[in-house]
Point group: C2
Chain length 207, copies 2
């Protein structure tokens, strides 16, 4: 029966993708080894090529998947009525994603830096366009909910505050937090508040 085949295929395919995600996230494209992915998936290396043809194709799949999960959250946030809650949701989308996938920021930054042009293509392919966040912010300024400022600067600041601590986690842990996991956890638990208080102070109208 065809249905069972399809199901088996999907199972193996998923096993491979899970292993590939782990390895690529941790080691990046250059550092990852097909053999390690196969080992982690518990299958023969030839299967990777049987299902995904090449390392690059497999990598792309993993890369695209990571964004497909994340971006809708940001888009969703912008439909929220209250301006404050909307921006809070964007911040939350970023931070919760990275709590769940700690390697994602480094993974993206490395790939971004490795092949920027291919990155741009993939973004367009998936339909990610951060400019809509910018226009969203500009709308909120027009409507008088936010102070009128340079929206490019504002969005860069917000994203910087959300993403960078995760990207620099090993540094912060070792040089600022005495390698103490608890301090990191507390820091991250507060992070949404911390970022929002900066945004409030700098960009929202004083009540």
């Amino acid at each position: 029966m065809d249905g069972l085949n399809k199901q088996n295929e999907n199972v193996t395919e998923q096993v491979i993708l899970n292993a590939a995600r782990e390895v690529f996230m941790e080691k990046g494209m250059d550092g990852a080894r097909m053999q390690e992915i196969a080992d982690k998936a518990g299958i023969n290396k030839a299967m990777l090529h049987y299902y995904f043809r090449s390392k690059e194709k497999l990598f792309n799949k993993v890369f695209i998947e990571a964004f497909k999960e994340f971006w809708p959250q940001v888009e969703g946030a912008m439909t929220i009525e209250t301006p404050y809650k909307a921006i809070e949701s964007i911040v939350e989308a970023y931070i919760d994603t990275f709590i769940d996938k700690p390697f994602l920021p480094n993974f993206i930054l490395a790939e971004l830096h490795r092949t920027p042009d291919r990155f741009e293509l993939l973004m367009k392919e998936i339909g990610i366009n951060p400019k809509i966040i910018m226009t969203f912010l500009e709308k909120l300024m027009e409507e008088g909910h936010l102070k009128k400022t340079n929206s490019l600067n504002m969005i860069v600041n917000v994203i910087s505050l959300c993403v960078f601590p995760f990207a620099a986690r090993p540094l912060m842990m070792r040089l600022l937090m005495d390698n103490n996991e608890q301090i990191w956890d507390d820091f991250i638990q507060q992070r949404k508040e911390t970022v929002m208080s900066v945004i409030k102070e700098c960009y929202f109208m004083k009540a």
Copy 2:
């Protein structure tokens, strides 16, 4: 005469280091190829090993050099009398360094992520300890120049605002700035001011 030999040695050594810096900065440890470094230096590949023994030793040299140049600027900034100027100088040290070495943030983040423990060792070896920035900020709070807040959050915020835009440059250029070099240059020219205005708003006492 020994002097001439030493000079020649130094010349070749520097040629190698310059080439190695370029390649490692752009491709990272995993992506860099010894042959490419040799080609860029215009010498035989064996020379790399003659002078630096191994890829890792060469990489370490490049890595350490990058910090040795940068960190004293930050330390120097903290000796400045006026609190505002002191913090401005720290921000300036970061941003000017990255204007000069655009690949440095990605280079550091990648290495940080690749071998965090070795990174920590190198930092201690060079004598870099960002905690002194934290205690410096705390002193300014005690003295009433800054609002009393969590110094860890403050330093992370400041560094995030300074570093992240450079690390994410390829993304920002392509998705927010229409690949327009001029927009990027303007953005970076304003960056010191932008960051300082956030710091002023959030952390300095209102005049």
